[in-house]
């Protein structure tokens, strides 16, 4: 889900850059120094998740984990995802530096919105937490594909058909992401429940 350089138009790139800058500033302002390592860990998890391809049949899928980051880190997901995407662009030429802002918005903004809305839900127990975690993972990926489609449509009308398909293509990935987010949150609730209170305690 990394848009390559040369695809988006300048207004979309500038818009993406500005939103990313604003989101990162908000995120950095909300970070307390004792949260930095947790953010670094989640940023690393996002960085690695993109490399985990599951070759199955004629295709392969990979994880994003943006829903998990939005759910746990809230606004702090902006600097976390920005740093991971920057390294992916520099080390592996995924996306690119010019399109970094737009890619960050695509992957981060839906995750932050979903995270802020659903954050209280993970403080509950049982099935509600599972359902909320699944919804966060699912909706974040779906939101990202919608944002990506919007960026492509705004840049070039020729991408319109492909953009509609893009949303459909990402439905299975969104479902997978939801399942994985659900299990991850459930696991964190058992082994390190304080992480789930991370953003609620420090940032609200």
């Amino acid at each position: 889900m990394h848009i390559s350089e040369g695809v988006l138009t300048i207004p979309v790139l500038v818009g993406g850059g500005l939103i990313t800058a604003a989101g990162t500033v908000i995120g950095l302002k909300k970070i307390d120094y004792d949260q930095v390592m947790t953010i670094g860990l989640f940023s690393s998890a996002f960085f690695i998740a993109s490399f985990i391809h599951v070759p199955m049949g004629p295709t392969s899928v990979h994880l994003l984990l943006n829903g998990l980051l939005g759910l746990i880190l809230g606004w702090a997901a902006f600097p976390a995802i920005l740093a991971a995407l920057f390294l992916q662009a520099v080390l592996f030429q995924y996306g690119g530096i010019i399109v970094l802002g737009a890619n960050t918005v695509i992957m981060c903004l839906p995750a932050v919105i979903v995270g802020l809305l659903l954050k209280p839900g993970i403080q509950t127990n049982g099935k509600k937490r599972l359902l909320v975690s699944f919804a966060a993972g699912f909706l974040a990926v779906l939101g990202s594909s919608l944002f990506m489609a919007a960026a492509l449509i705004l840049s070039n009308e020729g991408f319109q058909t492909a953009s509609y398909l893009l949303v459909l293509w990402n439905l299975p990935i969104a479902t997978l992401e939801g399942i994985i987010t659900m299990f991850t949150v459930s696991f964190l609730a058992r082994v390190q429940p304080e992480i789930l209170a991370f953003s609620l305690d420090k940032q609200s």
Binding site: G40, L41, P55, L87, Q93, Y94
Partner: protein, 213 residues
């Protein structure tokens, strides 16, 4: 295993096998030439070939699109260059688009395809080396001009070098190594550690000042 578990596993497997599931980070592109035929091969990160990707070839000198088409099921698109283009030998910008925000460029320089200036020098051999009429008819002792010999040599070399060029192209787009991934994690955690250290030091200094007051 109860019905719910079987259902969950079935859905999970179906999702992974879904032909619509696709996600990638990067479009890899490799172009090689054999005489005046250009072959474009593209694949997505993760190893999948790019099916029905749009290929556009632009003459960078004039800015005109000279060829366009789609990759086949193997992610390959081949085209022959017109003689006029070959003579002019402009740099060609080959763009492959996956249509989902993935795009890759490859600049094909003029000297990489058969667009070499043709020399008009024709070397005449001594009369005693000229083939007889019977030998020429049989293809024996055929006497080639310098130009013809160079063209023949170029053609043979192109055929032999094509697979080597393809392998070089694969090396140009290597898959991320474990070392690079480790380096990325190291950067992220290292930077977080440095920031945390600075901020905790600042906090300690503030606490010390408060204590002194």
């Amino acid at each position: 295993m109860n019905v719910k578990q079987i259902l969950a596993v079935s859905i999970f497997t179906a999702l992974l096998w879904s032909p619509f599931s696709s996600s990638a980070h990067k479009l890899n592109l490799f172009v090689w030439t054999e005489n005046n035929t250009v072959t474009v091969e593209s694949s997505l990160s993760g190893g999948r070939t790019l099916r029905h990707g749009t290929v556009t070839v632009i003459d960078t000198a004039s800015g005109k699109t000279i060829v366009s088409g789609e990759t086949d099921n193997n992610g390959i698109f081949s085209f022959s260059l017109e003689q006029e283009i070959v003579k002019q030998s402009p740099t060609l910008d080959i763009i492959v688009s996956g249509g989902d925000g993935h795009q890759a460029h490859w600049l094909l320089q003029g000297d990489e395809y058969g667009g070499k200036a043709e020399t008009q020098v024709v070397v005449q051999g001594p009369p005693e080396q000229q083939p007889t009429a019977q030998q020429a008819a049989d293809g024996e002792g055929l006497y080639l001009s310098k130009t013809e010999f160079e063209q023949l040599l170029d053609s043979l070399l192109e055929q032999k070098l094509a697979p080597i060029r393809k392998n070089i192209g694969l090396l140009v787009n290597p898959a991320p190594s474990l070392r690079d991934v480790g380096a990325g994690i190291g950067y992220l955690l290292g930077c977080a550690g440095i920031i945390a250290w600075f901020r905790s030091r600042k906090q300690n200094n503030m606490n010390t000042r408060k204590g002194e007051q």
